[in-house]
Symmetry: C2
Subunit: 395 residues, 2 copies
């Protein structure tokens, strides 16, 4: 059976070049970068190179990059660390309604710690209107966090416009660019943000490593206390092999981004364009133009996304329904609900995310196996039976 | 030149078997364990095995193991998470004076958040007297954290006795076993603790992964908010290759512990026994018997540890002065100061930590190169000149 992995939003495979770059650090070059001897020096030099590579990917300086253990850690660190560092000035924060749970739940934790939280709504395409951010700004607002792109809906937000507003109001601005950095152009200066999160496993780098960009001069309270690693801002022995892999992945992403985007965009469009002809009642979600090139998200009415992905899996196709981090929670996606979709439709969510190894044939295979799966599930769906009956009744 | 790595307290190399176990997860088996498809299933099954392996190493159940990104994260999670989960009952915590900074600084952060902190002193061998813990217990004490073994001094603490006291008083007890788990027998039931931290890179497993044992029924507040990974207690895409490596390292440690301990103990004793005959004014630190088998720590009077380790490095020997996490801070070790050593002596600290690949010849090489280094540094030391002069004056 054909095996087709279309769940790159959940995690990407390692590129062979990335794995090759990591291997020496899983072997002879095993030193702890904090150590003042040859083994430590070799590890530290490798980390310095990786820091330059990550900085270049996003147009930052190397000393503005802090390595973390995951994208989730970067988001927790940014949201809690920036808010706590400024709580003397005020205790109000603003986030969008479609943030990843690592931002949303960090904000909820801050609420427990005495902060007030405002959520900015999105339109039906998942777009945050910058004016809606402006409206929520108060004298005691110290942090705004709006994601650069949403991994589920694929929508890319108007970060530079939001940054203009936060800057005018002297408020820190963090953006979660985990779904976008390494995939589409992300430049911290053009975006105008104070902090930005990214993760290695989103662009063919390893799991277990992320980075947080913090603009020079911006104060952040550490999330992990301990040793003086990362200039005292993030304690813990550095995951050198993973950091080296992240650096290599960043270098390759910088070099190949344009051709990758073209390839992914072609596959996505081929799937989304063909879909309506093959499946009735399929609702494409996310923004029609401003979206991640590999993201094809849609809902199939009258059936459950979970069942669809189980049957797709039995045909060798890996996809997801909502974000990987929450797929085991089996709830309708908060992102789709915030976009105004009904629970009924949102439950039929299915997310195809393409990667650079996917081909046209993969798309054709999906277009071949998906319609009978949908048909089969609809035959078993009481909702569909009701809908058909209603249609007949009305006719 | 001979290359001799004697800094295993900073980090250990990966065992070839551990690396082999990890490699498939850096290749084909790259799935995200949260995903409901074949790629996700393979990753999840690998994690389940690793969880069993880690649980077996410390006598726990698999569902009492939470994977983290480092030992430092485990300690932050335990200290902050256990204290915050119980702050309704009281806001007083107790830690020993020789804890790793990931525990001490987490405790200081809790102080900023309104907790009160008591530090328990140690004797000259670095031993915490359980009665000193008992004396500090108050009605509002919610957490005691005392390490199982100190990575710098090598001293192993009387954890079961302290656990008896905390249990009598219905107080949570965490132990940092990062320096000891995988090296000496660590059994959570025999120790009687509620929480225990360990790290992969301390026993020939990978960097970037740690674990926190939390006894069944004990509540802990998450440090990383987000997805529902690790039963909702630790969010973030799991670092599958590193978790697999940690599991394999735990399995091998369980199997080979006795022979490893014998080998390390032999090397350590050979170095410590020969030392006084070769170097004047060398002060062996830590407990004479209750100590980690690979730990040979001592201070050389009248010289600085940093200079000693630089010159040792130029002879191919990697050692450290104090803990790796703080070696760049260039301060006298808080552990040695707490043990009552003067700043002058503590500055001459040097720490040799043996690993399973070290041989008798490595010890002989150190015994050959170290005395001339000490001699050379003493010739340049104003402190030593003063000491000699005083001796002559007194004669």
């Amino acid at each position: 059976m054909r095996k087709v992995y279309l769940d790159h939003a959940a995690t990407t495979p390692l590129l062979p070049e990335v794995r090759e770059a990591m291997l020496p650090y899983l072997g002879e070059l095993f030193g702890n970068p904090s150590c003042l001897h040859d083994w430590g020096d070799a590890a530290r030099e490798a980390m310095d190179t990786a820091r330059e590579q990550v900085a270049e990917l996003i147009g930052a300086s190397a000393d503005e990059i802090i390595f973390t253990g995951s994208g989730t850690e970067s988001n927790n660190f940014a949201v809690k660390g920036l808010a706590l560092a400024q709580q003397g000035r005020g205790k109000h924060i603003i986030v969008s309604a479609i943030e990843h749970f690592s931002v949303l739940h960090s904000a909820k934790t801050l609420e427990k710690w005495g902060f007030e939280l405002s959520e900015v709504p999105v339109d039906r395409y998942g777009v945050v209107d910058p004016d809606e951010v402006r409206k929520r700004i108060r004298k005691d607002t110290v942090l705004v966090s709006v994601m650069h792109a949403n991994g589920e809906a694929g929508t890319i937000e108007s970060i530079p416009e939001i940054a203009r507003i936060t800057r005018e109001n002297n408020i820190s601005f963090h953006t979660d660019a985990i779904a976008s950095a390494g995939t589409v152009p992300v430049n911290v200066k053009e975006l105008g943000v104070d902090a930005l999160s990214l993760a290695g496993n989103q662009f063919y780098g390893p799991k277990g490593v992320g980075a947080l960009y913090i603009r020079q001069g911006v104060r952040v309270m550490p999330l992990l206390d301990g040793g003086v690693q990362e200039e005292g801002r993030r304690a813990g022995t550095e995951n050198v092999p993973a950091i080296v892999g992240l650096g290599k992945a960043a270098e390759l992403a910088t070099k190949d981004m344009a051709s990758r985007m073209k390839h992914l965009g072609y596959l996505r469009d081929r799937l989304l364009n063909e879909l309506p002809a093959r499946i009735d009642h399929a609702v494409i979600t996310g923004h029609p133009e401003n979206r991640l090139p590999g993201n094809a998200s849609f809902c199939v009415q009258f059936i459950e996304g979970e069942s669809m992905l189980m049957l797709l899996n039995s045909q060798g196709v890996a996809v997801t329904s909502g974000s990987a981090c929450t797929s085991r929670a089996l709830k309708a996606s908060h992102v789709l609900i915030a976009m105004g979709l009904s629970h009924e439709i949102a439950q039929g969510s299915v997310l195809f995310t393409f990667g650079i190894d996917n081909t046209e044939k993969d798309v054709d295979y999906v277009l071949e196996v998906l319609p009978p799966i949908v048909e089969k599930l609809r035959q078993m769906s009481p909702l569909y039976a009701k809908f058909i009956k209603k249609g007949e009744g009305g006719a």
